[in-house]
């Protein structure tokens, strides 16, 4: 894995966390219960913390000079972000948010567990080891809600089944290997995505069965996020997130 591949692998980790954390922050003050205001902001907080670590590490690998986590978060354009399409999907209703979180948490947990164990990049291992503890809690939270909503009322069942059907097309992208994933696999930094998919399937199927939900068929999968091809909603999200650093270039906050 060369420097540029490592940098991009770290950017992907940081971008997944940043964009999902930003989406979750939109819930603050609007959740179905006070307990969920706390839970969703807490998960957002963890994810933005992971972002800071991954993006700072990625920023140290730019050949033209070190970039800070803030520069990477606030001064890149949409085409430069490499997050999964899944994490940028709009919040929708609480069920949409939970399904998005659940599908991602299961993947993020397995990925972080691998990175925490590898020795190719000890700094990334350190970040991932801390993240594993956080994501375990996130996965526990989203799994419990999957079961409550799936096996709750007829309305919640049909709503969350629909969310699952709608978001399923974004799950394929998590397991596609490109040159960065392959070099990451060779060096040991990144997991084997084919193997990881099998473990993900087990986790997902276990919870879906407890939730009395039907796993959607693997149909056509939407991809593009890893190449910087995002959804239309993504631009508005970045505009909101980046407005202050863009309006006041060079200012310190």
């Amino acid at each position: 894995m060369n420097n540029s591949q490592l940098k991009n692998a770290l950017l992907r980790l940081g971008d997944d966390a940043l964009i999902l954390g930003q989406r979750l922050a939109e819930w603050c003050g609007h959740a179905p219960a006070l307990e969920e205001d706390i839970a969703l902001t807490n998960i957002s907080l963890d994810l933005i913390g992971q972002t800071q670590s991954y993006l700072s590490l990625a920023g140290s690998l730019f050949e033209e000079g070190i970039k800070s986590d803030d520069e990477l978060a606030f001064l890149r354009s949409g085409r430069e972000f490499q997050n999964l399409l899944l994490v940028e999907q709009p919040n929708g209703d609480f069920g949409d948010t939970i399904v998005r979180q659940f599908l991602f948490d299961a993947f993020a947990l397995l990925r972080a567990e691998h990175i925490a164990q590898q020795s190719f990049n000890p700094e990334a291992a350190g970040i991932a080891a801390k993240a594993v503890k956080e994501i375990r809690y996130h996965f526990d939270h989203s799994s419990k809600w999957m079961v409550r909503l799936g096996d709750g009322t007829p309305e919640s069942h049909s709503r969350v089944q629909k969310s699952l059907n709608d978001l399923w097309k974004f799950t394929g992208e998590m397991f596609i290997s490109d040159e960065i994933d392959r070099s990451g696999l060779e060096s040991g930094l990144l997991p084997n995505l084919e193997e990881l998919k099998k473990e993900w399937d087990v986790k997902i199927d276990d919870i879906l069965s407890k939730a009395t939900l039907v796993r959607p068929e693997d149909g056509f999968m939407q991809t593009g996020g890893r190449k910087g091809i995002h959804t239309e909603a993504f631009g508005f999200m970045l505009a909101e997130m980046q407005i202050l650093p863009r309006t006041h270039p060079g200012a310190s906050w």
């Binding site: 930003q22 003050g29 179905p32 706390i38 009322t153 407005i243 200012a251 310190s252 906050w253």
Partner: protein
Amino acid sequence: MNATQEKLREEFDAYVAKDKKIEPKDWMPDGYRKTLIRQISQHAHSEVVGMLPEGNWITRAPSLQRKVILLAKVQDEAGHGLYLYSAAETLGVDRADLIDDLLSGKAKYSSIFNYPSLTWADMGAIGWLVDGSAIMNQVPLCRCSYGPYARAMTRVCREESFHQRQGYSIMMELMKGTKDQIDMAQDALNRWWWPSLMMFGPSDKNSTHSSQNMKWNIKRFSNDELRQRMVDMTVPQAELIGLKIPDPDLKWNEDTGHYDFGEIDWVEFNNVLSGNGPCNNERLEARNKAHDDGAWVREAALAYAEKKKTKE
């Protein structure tokens, strides 16, 4: 009041006068219970509504570190809401009913949150001034005669002081910055100064609840005393970073050892209190929408819990 009740009342008054704590199962006068339910639930509602003006800027926080801090702060506020509702529940009311009163507009919450948060500097001003006034009001409540409230407030105050410091730190950073940032900070102070002083309530001569609450050790200092402390504490902090307090009458008074300051605009105070603030409707609508949109989720959680209980 019959003889037994009168005796209980006398014992209660004597007990409270000795600065002892009343616990949920102790006998207490109806008026004491009602006052506490009103005050604690209003306080809880204020925490919950207070999430909105700041939540408004989380997605636009200008750095990752500021985003993390603001998330932590607003999360604390939700937590304060939770344990204040729990403290109120020890007095025999139900959180769901209290929330219904908030949503219907029957219950009050702190008027300060009916002002809009317009720029990033408002996050500084709210933390520094609004949380500053809140702490000034709340520190004496840590010694309130009602045990569960006093204990909740001890925890709240510890977190509020972190909130105030983060607000001041935002202002400090802005004042070290560009001209736009300095203007932004001064503008925020101009807009939040007077509303923050209004947070202490009407002046002592017009305060309706004060004297009985003082006797019951629910209130320890008068509105005007606390307001004066806030002014005395804040003016030097503003001067230190080059901000100007928007009050032409503000002046240090050698004789009293306090700052003299101008008269609050009580017309505005009463207007915001009675529902005519810039955001009264928006705040209640946002809370109602969250509640309505979340109804199916809460129902699902209840239904699932029931099913699980039946299975066991």
